[in-house]
């Protein structure tokens, strides 16, 4: 195929669909009990150097418990999918966990401002970056989910975002129109937080799906963290609501309040005080180290972190904020 132009930055993962097929051919499909702890899933599915994707939208429906565990396990040299990553990105930068990055939205926390530490890390030159957009990165996952090696979008054309990407400009064989072709992306592992899952991994989330439908299907290994486990009967009672079927899933971790300090739609709002504390303390690297020790490295489990952040009383406040019963 004639390539009219192409981005200069590396494609970190092999877009060969037949290699992915070989992997998926061997991936176990039986409906078995997949419950694990966050420690176990990091140990088993997130080794040093693997390429990681995180579900949700930065500080909304994120699998915080597993990300903390990645830091505690001192994981290094990961590849990371920077698809509207905000607090998740801030966390992984705090642990200097990754050294290569597909970037669509990074270092910022949307209306909250920019993370000083994430900026330091990204300005250090220690991280190899390839540029994308939110849609083109979602389209890379969609192509992988479709079992093909590329997808096409009309974004990026003509810009430096394209130049610093790994995309190529091609022509439509029917119309001659130009498109940006983007390579399929099969992350080694993805972690997605949901409202409900059964022990086999059948998962339900409420509200927006962001890019999680595509991420769940593209990832070679998939870890689900769930606000609560439900019976398989409950799943089968309303199959229309299932977003992720069991055969995509490798592990299920039950984590109530698992998206804290992020927002979990219909359950609890984000803890803006705590997120602001991060941004503030990051300005001083020394203080930031102590802060990380207190909230992450020095705690043994996610529940302990929740306690240190204010425990049930704080969580009840966030629940009130979320449900807007008075509105």
């Amino acid at each position: 195929m004639k390539v009219l132009d192409q981005g200069v930055n590396p494609i970190f993962m092999d877009p060969d669909p037949d290699k992915a097929r070989e992997f998926f051919r061997k991936k176990p499909r039986a409906m078995t009990d997949k419950r694990m702890t966050e420690k176990e899933v990091v140990e088993k599915f997130i080794p040093d150097g693997c390429y990681l994707g995180i579900g949700g939208f930065g500080a909304n429906r994120i699998p915080t418990a597993v990300i903390h565990e990645i830091l505690r396990a001192r994981r290094k040299n990961l590849g990371f999918l920077g698809h509207t990553s905000t607090h998740d990105f801030e966390l992984l930068c705090a642990g200097k966990c990754f050294n290569r990055l597909d970037a669509a939205y990074i270092v910022g926390l949307e209306a909250r401002g920019l993370s000083p530490n994430a900026r330091r890390y990204m300005e250090s030159g220690e991280v190899k970056v390839t540029e994308w957009t939110n849609y083109s990165l979602a389209a890379r996952l969609r192509a992988a989910a479709e079992g093909v090696s590329f997808g096409i979008v009309r974004s990026m054309l003509g810009t430096d975002t394209f130049k610093m990407s790994g995309a190529k400009v091609i022509e439509c064989p029917f119309t001659g129109k130009k498109f940006a072709a983007v390579p399929a992306l099969w992350p080694d592992v993805a972690v997605i937080h949901v409202h409900e899952a059964d022990m086999y991994g059948n998962s339900v989330f409420r509200g927006i799906s962001v890019a999680d439908m595509e991420l769940a299907r593209a990832a070679k290994h998939l870890i689900i963290t769930a606000e609560r486990l439900v019976t398989n009967f409950s799943i089968r009672n309303n199959p229309t609501a299932t977003s992720i079927p069991f055969y995509l899933v490798d592990a299920v971790v039950e984590v109530p309040y698992g998206s804290y300090p992020g927002n979990m739609p219909y359950l609890y709002f984000s803890d803006e005080e705590h997120l602001a504390a991060w941004m503030k303390v990051e300005k001083d690297p020394k203080e930031f180290e102590k802060f990380l020790d207190h909230y992450i490295y020095g705690v043994s489990c996610f529940e302990e972190y929740l306690e240190r952040c204010g425990g049930l009383k704080k969580l009840k406040e966030l629940q009130k904020l979320e449900t807007l019963v008075e509105k």
Partner: protein, 256 residues
């Protein structure tokens, strides 16, 4: 006597007037969202607000903090996903999108990625997010930003999101669909783009602002047509709705 207002209130009120009734607008958090909400409550009750992460036509109870937080689909008609929203843009069903950025150049290109060398940047910004997608796929890109020489540059150091690229014909040549920057609303003026050259042009000066001031705060030569409009100041009604209904906590309008 008319109510006083700050520059953020000015920008939001002015931007809100460009959003036609019955059209769709993709918004981010902050000022763009405030402008869209204000427009709904004044001239465009049937304006449809969309969020890139999946929220469609919510009954926004307050300003979202994130374009993916639960406010963005509070009592929405649909809670979809990002591919749904971006393909809706790609199909041609999204009329307006709002962008911001660190730099904007005379063809309306935007930099929100890096200042300095890409591989070892002086400042690293968030990158495109959905901005490049919106600027590529929506019909009319709206930009709201404070007017200063460091922001309005001859040429962006890094073009994150396309305006008219290098000028007339460049979007078409690159393969982008029809579209491009529509209005740039700043604290000083409203800029549009010259039909022929696609270069930035002053369209309307805010109250008390003269064209020299705008040019002085712009790092390239602006086109000044023979007739430049005078921006109508925010009305009392606009200001009251903005303050009481749209942003009572002053999350955005308190920032000026």
């Amino acid at each position: 006597m008319a109510l006083e207002y700050n520059m953020m209130e000015m920008m939001i009120c002015v931007a809100s007037r460009y959003l036609e009734d019955g059209k769709t607008v993709a918004v981010g958090t902050g000022a763009p969202c405030a402008a869209a909400m204000l427009s709904q409550k004044t001239q465009s009750p049937n304006l449809i607000i969309l969020f890139e992460a999946g929220g469609v036509a919510p009954m926004l109870p307050q300003m979202p903090i994130s374009v993916g937080d639960s406010r963005t689909f509070f009592r929405a008609v649909m809670a979809a996903g990002m591919i749904e929203m971006m393909t809706t843009c790609s199909r041609g069903q999204v009329d307006y999108a709002f962008l911001g950025g660190a730099q904007i150049d005379k063809f309306g290109n935007i930099n929100s990625t890096v200042v300095g060398d890409y591989y070892k940047p002086k400042v690293r910004f968030p990158g495109s997010g959905g901005a490049n997608d919106f600027a590529s796929l929506c019909w009319r890109t709206m930009i709201m930003t404070v007017h200063s020489k460091s922001r309005f540059v001859e040429k962006c150091e890094f073009v994150t999101s396309p305006g008219f690229l290098t000028g007339a014909g460049a979007r078409e040549e690159a393969g982008l669909p029809e579209g491009g920057p529509y209005k740039i609303v700043t604290d000083l003026a409203v800029m549009g783009f010259d039909e022929k050259t696609k270069a930035m042009m002053v369209e309307s000066l805010h109250p008390g602002i003269e064209v020299e001031k705008v040019q002085a705060e712009t790092g390239f030569k602006l086109i000044v047509p023979q007739k430049v409009e005078r921006t109508a100041p925010p009305t009392d009604k606009e200001l009251r709705i903005l303050r009481e209904e749209v942003d009572p906590l002053k999350l955005v309008i308190g920032r000026a």
